[in-house]
Symmetry: C2
Subunit: 382 residues, 2 copies
C-alpha cells in the first residue's frame, strides 16, 4: 500500500520576499529532507497550482520545476481551481498504483499577495462558470448565497457560522506555519464587516502565499525506514460548475459522493476518523463538509458546531482542522490540498507538536474546487 | 493492454461561431459516438488545455466538463503548454494502468482566434520562462535561435527547412479537418515574409481553434468489439524551461529521453514505425524530432527532408505527419497532442481515407511543450 513518508510546508502568509518558484523550491527541498531522499530518487512530480497563468502569464510549470530539480523526470501540472493540490495528490497516488514509479512528490503552491485585491478577486472568479462571472458573482458572493440558503432552511443565525472561525483560529494559534496565529472570539467575528451578507470578513479565508509538498512511496522497504501514514483511499467527484444546475444549495454533493467512495475503498466509516482537514474557505463550507462526509447529519451542523466537540482539547474522537484550516492557516490555493494531507501525516505520525491529537489513527482530507464543482476526499491511516 | 477505441476531432481552423466548450462538447460526443458508448460508460476524463485561464479567465474546466457530460465522474485538467494534450493522454493511460477505471476519455481543446494577435502571442509566451519573457522572446524567436544554430552547425539553408512545410501542406490538402488544405511550393515558402530570421511565415504553424478526443479502454471485451489500436507505451521527459540551461540548442533532449523510454517499453525500435505524428510547431522542430527519436542521425535531417521519403505516396516505410502536422492541420494547442494520437488511430485502423498509409502497423506521436521543456512520446500498434 502507498504511504506518505515525508512532508514540508513553507510558512503561509504574505511572503513578499519570495517568488512562487522560490516557495516551490523550498517546499521540494524541505519534503526531500523530511523523507531523507535526494531528487534523483524521485520518479515523478505532480504539481497543483491555480493562478500563475492568470496572474503572472506563467504556464508550463513542469519544465520550470524540472529546471529547479535538475533532473529530466516527468512533471505534471494539475489544475482544478482550489482543489488543485488535492487533485495533484490523487494523481500522484494513481501514478504509484499504475506502477509508473516507486516514489513521487506531490506539491502545491500559490503566490497571491503580489497583486491588487481586484486582480486576485477577478482571478479567483475563474473557478466559477462564465455565466456566474458575467453576473458579477465573486466567491464570497457564491458562498454567501449558499450560506443564506442554509441559515434559512435550518433556522440558524450568523452566530452558528462564527463558531467555525473561532475554533479554527484557535487551532491556527497552535500552528507556527499558519497565516493567522491569533485567537478570535465569537463576539469579534460577529462584529466584523460584511463581505457578502451573511458572510463577514472573519467568515472568509485569507489571500495567502505558500507552498507545501508531500513524498508518496509504494516502496515498502523505503516506507519502513520512515515515519509514515498509509494512503487508504483517495477519490474524486465532480458537479456542475454553476450553482444554478445543482440539486441543492445547502450541500456539497461532490464531497458526499467522493466521501462515500473513499470510505468504501478504505473499508472504514466516518466514526473511525480522528482528525480531519476540511475545506473551510468560508465558515459555511466546514458545516457543509461535516454533513457531506457524514460526520453530522444534514442540517445538524449549525447546532453541532456550537458544542465545540471538534475543537482541539475537547477530548472528543474527531478533531477538525488542527492546522487552522483554510480560515486561519491560510489558503494559498494550490498548496491547500497538499497541506491538508501533510497535516494528517503530522497528526498520524505524532509530529504535530502543540496540537497533537491523542490516539490519531485515521485522518481524512476534503479539498474543494470552486463552489463544489470538484471534490477530492483522501483517507490516511496508521 | 490498453487500447484506443474511438476518436473524433472537430474541424481545426478559425471557428468564430463556436466557443471553447462548444468545441469540447462536440469532441466528447463525437468520440463517444465513434466508440459507440454513452457518457455513463466513461469512468474519468482527462482534459488538456493551455490558454483558457490566461486568455479568458477560465479555469476549473473539470467542473464545466462534468456539467456538459451530466455525470459526477472524475475530470482532470492537465497543462504543460503545447504538450497539454499529450500529457492528458499519458495520464489517462496511467489511470487505466492503475485500475482506477476501465474506459476513459482524453480530450484536448483550445480557442485561440477570438483574441488580438498581441494577446495570443503574449499568452503563448507563458510557456517560456520568466526570464525569456522579460527578454522579449516570443516562440518564433526561441525556435529561430534554435534553427539558426542548426543551419549554421550543419551548413544548411532555409531551403532545407522549407521542405518540411511543403510536405505537411500536401498532407493537409488530404485531410478535411485540417486548418490549411492548400499545397504550397518550396519556392513560395522561401518567398514568404520573415517572422524571426531564419523562420518565415510559412515555417510557422498557425493560430487555430479546435478540440479532439480519444476513448481509451482497458476492457478487453469492449476493445474486441471496436476497431482499435493498442497503446504500447507512453513516456514523458522534461528539460529546463529556459534555453540557456540546455545542453544543446540543436536537439530536443527531452524528446530523445522520452523516445528511448517509449521504444524500450514497447519493445520495438525506430525502424518499426510506419506513421509518426511529430510536433512541427515550426519547420525546424520536425527535423529536431526526427533526429531525437532516432529516425535520422543528428545533423542528417536537413539533407534527408529534401529526399521527401517521409511524404505520403513516397512508398517508404515511414510517413510523417499525415494529418498535416501542426504546420498545416493547425495547432489549437491543447488539442494537438490528442489529434496526433487520433491520426495514428485512424492510420492503424485503416480509417485514414485519402491519406491512408499502407501496412501501417506501428505509429508514434511526439508532443512538445514550449521550446522542449516537456516531451511526451507515445507508441501505438496493431
Amino acid at each position: 500500500m502507498n504511504a506518505v513518508i515525508g512532508y514540508y510546508t513553507t510558512q503561509f502568509g504574505e511572503l513578499w520576499e519570495q517568488s512562487l518558484f522560490q516557495l516551490v523550491e523550498e517546499a521540494i527541498h524541505g519534503a526531500l529532507t523530511s523523507a531523507k531522499l535526494d531528487a534523483g530518487q524521485i520518479d515523478a512530480i505532480f504539481y497543483g497550482n491555480m493562478l500563475a497563468g492568470v496572474l503572472d502569464n506563467n504556464l508550463h510549470a513542469p519544465a520550470k520545476i524540472a529546471e529547479i530539480v535538475g533532473h529530466h523526470l516527468p512533471v505534471f501540472r494539475v489544475e482544478s481551481a482550489c482543489a488543485s493540490g488535492g487533485m495533484a495528490f490523487h494523481l500522484a497516488n494513481q501514478y504509484l498504483n499504475a506502477g509508473a514509479g516507486k516514489t513521487v512528490l506531490a506539491i502545491g503552491a500559490e503566490k497571491m499577495t503580489d497583486y491588487s485585491p481586484e486582480q486576485t478577486t477577478r482571478a479567483l472568479a475563474a473557478a466559477a462558470s462564465g455565466e456566474e462571472q458575467e453576473a458579477g458573482l465573486t466567491f464570497p458572493g457564491l458562498y454567501a448565497m449558499m450560506a443564506r440558503s442554509y441559515l434559512d432552511e435550518y433556522n440558524y443565525t450568523e452566530e452558528n457560522l462564527a463558531y467555525v472561525a473561532h475554533k479554527n483560529h484557535f487551532h491556527g494559534s497552535l500552528n507556527k506555519k499558519a497565516h493567522f496565529r491569533k485567537e478570535i472570539s465569537v463576539a469579534s467575528i460577529l462584529k466584523s464587516a460584511y463581505v457578502a451578507h451573511p458572510l463577514k470578513v472573519l467568515d472568509c479565508s485569507p489571500i495567502s502565499d505558500g507552498a507545501s509538498a508531500v513524498v508518496l512511496s509504494a516502496d515498502a522497504q523505503l516506507t519502513k525506514k520512515h515515519k509514515h501514514a498509509q494512503i487508504l483511499s483517495s477519490e474524486v467527484a465532480t458537479d456542475s460548475i454553476s450553482l444554478k444546475h445543482r440539486k441543492s444549495l445547502t450541500e456539497i454533493y461532490s464531497s458526499k459522493l467522493a466521501a462515500e467512495k473513499a470510505f468504501e475503498s478504505a473499508g472504514i466509516s466516518p466514526t473511525d476518523i480522528n482528525v480531519a482537514e476540511l475545506h473551510d474557505c468560508f465558515t459555511i463550507a466546514e458545516l457543509f463538509a461535516m454533513e457531506a462526509i457524514g460526520f453530522w447529519k444534514p442540517g445538524e451542523g449549525g447546532a453541532q458546531i456550537k458544542e465545540q466537540s471538534t475543537k482541539f482539547g475537547s477530548g472528543s474522537s474527531l478533531i477538525v482542522n488542527t492546522s487552522g484550516g483554510l480560515k486561519a492557516a491560510g489558503h494559498p490555493v494550490g498548496a491547500t490540498g497538499i497541506k491538508q494531507i501533510g497535516e494528517l501525516y503530522l497528526q498520524l505520525t505524532g509530529q504535530a507538536d502543540g496540537r497533537q491529537v491523542e490516539k490519531a489513527t485515521y485522518g481524512l482530507a476534503q479539498n474543494v474546487g470552486g463552489s463544489g464543482g470538484t471534490s477530492v476526499v483522501s483517507i490516511l491511516g496508521i
